[in-house]
């Protein structure tokens, strides 16, 4: 159910995300000080190519990583296989990609 291609996608996306997760946690610790507000978040991220690249690559990696992870759980827990397993994997990946892409655009280039 996992061939080498999916396995490598899973592990490479994990390696891409490792530093991004640390960065994200650092931003969170910094951002929650003194409460959260829309203006404060947008002030930091709006119009920044760096934030766009940071969270853009995060979304790309997490869409692949989570889709493959959920695929494994679905197969092992429900026995889903064959074409439907492929369809569901792609569907989850696309959904996360679209929703994540929208979120990144909303806070950087809206």
């Amino acid at each position: 159910m996992l061939n080498i291609g999916l396995y490598m996608a899973q592990r490479l996306s994990a390696m891409v995300m490792a530093p991004l997760v640390l960065g994200h946690i650092a931003v969170m610790i910094y951002a929650v000080q003194g409460g959260l507000s829309t203006a404060e978040i947008l002030d930091r991220t709006q119009g920044s190519v760096w934030w766009f690249l940071f969270y853009g690559s995060f979304v790309l990696a997490v869409a692949a990583h989570a889709a493959i992870g959920l695929r494994v759980i679905l197969h092992e827990m429900t026995g889903l296989r064959g074409r439907w397993l492929e369809v569901v994997t792609c569907g989850i990946g696309m959904l996360l990609l679209i929703m994540g892409g929208r979120a990144v655009l909303a806070v950087t280039f809206a």
């Binding site: 390696m15 929650v32 959260l36 996360l96 979120a103």
Partner: protein, 114 residues
Amino acid sequence: MMLKAHRNHPLWLAYMLHRLSGLALALFLPVHFHVLSLALTRPESLDRFLGLADNPAVKLAEFGLVFLLAVHFFGGLRLLALEFLPWSARQKTLAAASIAGAFLISGTFLLQAV
């Protein structure tokens, strides 16, 4: 549910922790993305939502999410090391100990700074 006898060992528990934290994070992601894109469509409802963060229950949930992320992060590093670094068991213990030590020190520093 009683833990079945053949599962009662550290590596299996680490696997289950990694799976559960990953599943929870994957289910949380769409919500997270949706809330952020409110900034685009309805900034005032995002502000109201962010205002909730002062609520202790929400604070606890926030902590839970960061905890899940940290658990999955370290579980993932453990897996990558196990799969890609042909280390001896002793080297792995030392590496894990040094990472834990580094985080203890930097975490303390961070808490001091906040």
